[in-house]
Symmetry: C2
Subunit: 363 residues, 2 copies
Amino acid sequence: MHALRFHGPKDLRVEQVPRPRPQAGQVLIEVEWCGICGTDLHEFLAGPIFIPGADRPHPLTGEVPPVVMGHEFAGTVVEVAEEVTDVAVGDVVAVEPLLRCDTCAQCRAGRYNICESGGVYGLAGWGGGLAEYCAVDRRNVHVLPPGMSAEVGALVEPLAVAWHAMIQSGFRAGQTALVIGAGPIGLALLLCLKAAGARWIGVSEPSTARRAMATSFGADAVFDPRSDDVVRHARAAVDGVGPHVSFDASGLPVTLNAALAAVRPTGTAFNVAIWEQSAPIDMALLLGGERTLRSGLCYAGDYPAVIAALADGRIDPTAMITARIELTDVVEHGFTELVDNKDRHIKILVRPGGDAGTGSSAH
Amino acid sequence: MHALRFHGPKDLRVEQVPRPRPQAGQVLIEVEWCGICGTDLHEFLAGPIFIPGADRPHPLTGEVPPVVMGHEFAGTVVEVAEEVTDVAVGDVVAVEPLLRCDTCAQCRAGRYNICESGGVYGLAGWGGGLAEYCAVDRRNVHVLPPGMSAEVGALVEPLAVAWHAMIQSGFRAGQTALVIGAGPIGLALLLCLKAAGARWIGVSEPSTARRAMATSFGADAVFDPRSDDVVRHARAAVDGVGPHVSFDASGLPVTLNAALAAVRPTGTAFNVAIWEQSAPIDMALLLGGERTLRSGLCYAGDYPAVIAALADGRIDPTAMITARIELTDVVEHGFTELVDNKDRHIKILVRPGGDAGTGSSAH
């Protein structure tokens, strides 16, 4: 089968590899759609980061590059191995790609997203979604309800990241939120917060195209941080004190501190960006307003809530898809396109099995 | 009467000033004991910080230096003005020194400690505890139960800072904690955590004398951060994952990040130090373990709980008092002594009315 494999930074190759064979307890999925994630771009540009290095095999998979990429995927079950009784051939499933050790304190407490030696299908080894087929453990698939497409299924993963952040932030229905950054996760947060009953959501984003997208997704106010005093506007918009929660989906010192400055006293600023270094935090914002700074990683137990919100229409994420491409084009029209023309895209979906249908038309 | 007034950095003067007259709704207190706080030392060395500057009168008091210092105090009510019906002459009271505007969103929600224009008796103006007398609003005094001395009453303030931090950290009985720094607030945290039913408390402190004090106050383990791997020890001591909560009472980048590193995944690291600049936070600790960073300021509604714990003996803080001095000696034997011989002292109490009894004997 064809698969996209990471060999090194700027060295991703679509190659012929053996089709995986599901082991006991696994299902084999024919991948229909797989999204390209910001994390994938980081690996492309500066990896290996979450991908294991040549001299440090992943603690769970034991693999080193080349590894198959892609962790935002959905498809159709085409083979069910022994010990699997509640998933059937033909089921359309979204993959929850987290690998876990099952023995550490975090896994034992159900917090497998912060497993001490955890990993992700599509980064850690054991295959991934940018391939025609992938064999995954039964617990890593969620059967989609009738009528829900694999295309929507491929968006469950980024939506679950946002949903998890929303839950961990302490947000509750009727409250208000500021989202900084309207990339895929920022927009996913907007969709989740609306689905969860937010009373007001502001979005700060320098890109005009992305601000327009945020407005079309239902943001109550959009701000351009290059010209607007976002903190002042957010405070003024919500009772003069600012929103209950704020999310930084940009990952810059200035945006993280803006999230802290904008949230009301006693509120929570939540980081959803990946940081590999220290961030200079304005401690006066924590002290003076008794604000809280939190951060989250992936999701744990959040897929069912997202799928339910998709099923009943509270979340309609299809406008997030800005291009559909084939696997053979994934480097040029996927990775390189996202690096070169970031503002034109939210989510590029890849169809590993061939015909991507509507082509790479941007919305 | 005599009072210690701040004129400028390194310029504190014991002076003759008019005795305050209580207004309607106030009581006049003859101060028996007043502690010197780390905040007072910062003002002495580098103020005005919380004290208003000569060109920026305090928004509540309208005062500029010179202002009377001292905010950790207790004494005897000697005059009760009109409108005060539930405090009597002769009552021994601890002063809760927070001033508030009563109109901002935080005051209206009962969080007067983060009042937008709040202040503190002894820093903001309207008098303070390093004086023979102080007139304060009725709501700023807590009548001590029979038999509780004003000496113990003067310690309620630092204990309330610690108690508030403990409550805000989410700590619950039966949990475990690491306290970094065994100065007055670190030791007060140790006393509060023990009173609240902690199962294990570790204390990290470079001073040998202060480690010994922490041990005598009941720490389950003490660490010297200059030679011990505190994070590793704290993790090993508590189920291999680390304590439920951690407190940084030192206020250095290295101690704040150690608090984050030592607390278990999903745990809360709580800052109780005053920061005036940014702190470099290792975001990987927040992300990878979904840890929370919080901070608190003073207290709001915490005095009754502290007084109750003192009354029933769950907290015995008298060993915190390392010297008792008279007001005439406050600069030399109080402020200067604390700067020069920090490790010898936890809390120096000042007796504004004269005879300090046991003198300046260090414990």
